[in-house]
């Protein structure tokens, strides 16, 4: 249960919104749930719905709507490479493909050790520093800019050895 482990965090989140508008807390609570297990599980929907007085279906619809929420497990670290127009003009598509080839996965796939998923995503607001990816992991989201295939592979190696963080 989120409430057992994160009582103070949940109270701080709820305090941001007017008492009659608890539903506003649904997105931060979904982020909290996802940090805990890497995706949002059915029991999270139930718990968040109960906390806010809305239905689990209403909470679940947000998981489907917003790109950063996942309803199923993936790699512990999700590498999300922007391949939108400005980044693609600076080689991001080729970068994404080359990185996946070296990792032995398809774009959208997860490495055999379950550590890394690589996805192609929409604009990350870092167009001048392409190729760029963000890493979504239990610690949140962090940007990695001006990348090469080698720098990205070094980063992945560090994660594998447990010495890097997203």
């Amino acid at each position: 249960m989120l409430a057992d482990k994160h009582r103070e965090t949940i109270e701080a989140i709820l305090a941001k919104y007017p008492p009659a508008q608890r539903r506003s807390a649904v997105m931060p609570l979904l982020h909290l749930a996802q940090q805990e297990r890497g995706h949002v599980a059915p029991e999270d929907l139930e718990e968040i719905a109960a906390l806010l007085g809305i239905s689990p279906t209403q909470v679940g619809s947000l998981v489907g709507f917003y790109s950063l929420y996942y309803d199923r497990p993936g790699g512990k670290y999700r590498l999300q490479i922007c391949t939108d127009l400005p980044c693609a003009l600076r080689g991001a598509q080729a970068f994404a493909q080359a990185l996946c080839d070296r990792l032995g996965i398809e774009i959208g796939g997860t490495t055999a050790d379950g550590l890394i998923s690589v996805e192609a995503v929409m604009c990350l607001a870092a167009c001048d520093r392409a190729p760029v990816f963000q890493v979504q992991d239990p610690n949140g989201l962090h940007y990695h800019e001006d990348q090469t295939v080698d720098s990205a592979l070094q980063f992945v190696e560090a994660l594998r050895k447990g010495i890097g963080r997203g």
Partner: protein, 418 residues
């Protein structure tokens, strides 16, 4: 080159720290606004400056504030930090490098609107920015620059961050409000406009990050000073995000009315490997694509001139295409973006972006017939004028303009397939 009004951190190292910001006059405009002026006087000064919304629409900021329904409280202010337009990365630099000027702007806007609660809605990807901003807000409360009974008056202000979760549509202000209320980020039918019924049905002002960051200097130095930069109808500076096929991509804060040529060649270092510019998207993926001919290169980048040239300045996210860029591929890339980001509420946008992408990919793969180019154009035009918000309209602009101005790029793909 105009001085930096918003990107002042470029000259002042450490400006992202509160002590340094305070040493450089930080929060003096805020203090003076609350202690010495009425909200109406702040609105009048911002109106006089001619500041226009920097998020894309270019609507006069002070005028927008004056639409708030009188005598209805509580009111809310929401800072739109959902920067998601492909090619736009200016707000992120402001939030990371000059965050206190932005927060002072939020505070000034809240006072002008007589709101006692403000939210900063950040795109979910700005996770680290939000963490830092929570720390900044705590420092401001400790120093008595936010909180209750500010500067000995009876005015209170609380500012909170709120993280989105990956949805371009939430940059549209009514979709942003829905999202902030904990719902799907889908636009509302307008009217009522947010100034009448916004967050939680209350009068609400929503302004872009760059717009808000302009407020402290405007109040500190006056509307007349602000109008010494830019043009008569587009006063001030603008942060231009330059990307694509240029030597030095990045943010450049320049006077409104600077030409594309100066931005791309003087500041951006021109096109790599001595190639020629082919096309320009002045407003990110949501642009009518302009051919990069001499006339366009000499066009001043202000709201009026770019519109007169057939496109729009929008958020001033200038994406440069060179002679090696295939415009059929560009149309496929922008269609892919809008198909992914369509919220699904309006059928013409939801279905239309799907079919545009389907056709654009067929062209891209060299499997299209010549008629498919016209079909792509027709599908795009059928979306126009039929959607609640601008996303559907935006999705058609690069496609229709690419076909109109660069038809050969599409036709050669068709020939390839035969």
């Amino acid at each position: 080159m105009a001085e930096h009004v918003v990107l002042r951190h470029r000259e002042i190292p450490g400006l992202e720290r509160l002590e340094v910001y305070l040493e450089h006059g930080g929060f003096e405009a805020w203090r003076r606004a609350v202690t010495k002026t009425t909200p109406q006087e702040v609105i009048e000064e911002v109106k006089a400056s001619g500041l226009r919304g920097r998020g894309g629409a270019g609507f006069p900021t002070g005028v927008k504030w004056s639409f708030l329904t009188p005598n209805v409280f509580p009111r809310y202010v929401v800072a739109n930090a959902d920067e998601s337009e492909p090619g736009t990365f200016k707000d992120r630099e402001i939030l990371e490098r000059n965050p206190f000027q932005f927060l002072e702007g939020v505070a000034i806007c809240a006072y002008a609107a007589q709101a006692e609660v403000a939210y900063v809605y950040l795109r979910g990807e700005f996770w680290d920015v939000a963490q830092e901003m929570d720390g900044h807000l705590a420092s401001l409360r400790e120093r008595g620059l936010l909180g209750k009974g500010l500067f000995g008056t009876d005015y209170n202000l609380a500012v909170h961050t709120h993280l989105g979760a990956g949805a371009y549509i939430c940059g549209e202000e009514t979709a942003l409000l829905e999202s902030l209320e904990g719902k799907l980020g889908q636009p509302r039918l307008r009217p009522p406009f947010p100034a009448a019924e916004g967050l939680y049905g209350k009068p609400t002002v929503i302004n872009n990050v760059e717009t808000l960051a302009n407020l402290p200097p405007i109040l500190a130095r006056g509307a007349a000073w602000y109008r010494t930069m830019g043009t008569e109808k587009s006063p001030g500076t603008k942060v231009f995000s330059l990307s694509g096929k240029v030597v030095r991509p990045g943010n450049y804060e320049l006077a409104l009315g600077t030409t594309f040529r100066e931005l791309i060649f003087s500041h951006g270092g021109g096109i790599p490997d001595g190639r020629k510019a082919k096309g320009i998207l002045p407003a990110g993926a949501s642009s009518v694509i302009l051919p990069a001919d001499e006339r366009i290169l000499d066009t001043p980048m202000d709201y009026e001139a770019v519109q007169a040239a057939g496109s729009a300045l929008g958020s001033a996210s200038v994406i440069v295409l060179d002679e090696t860029t295939d415009l059929a591929w560009v149309a496929m890339k922008t269609s892919r973006f809008f198909k992914h980001e369509s919220c699904g509420k309006c059928t013409p946008c939801r279905e239309g972006t799907y079919w545009m992408l389907h056709l654009a990919e067929r062209v891209e793969r060299g499997e299209a017939r010549l008629e498919d180019i016209d079909l792509l154009d027709t599908v795009a035009r059928q979306i126009q004028g039929k959607c609640l918000c601008a996303l559907g309209e935006f999705s058609t602009m690069p496609v229709v303009s690419a076909i109109a101005s660069f038809r050969a790029d599409f036709a050669s793909r068709v020939a390839d397939g035969r």
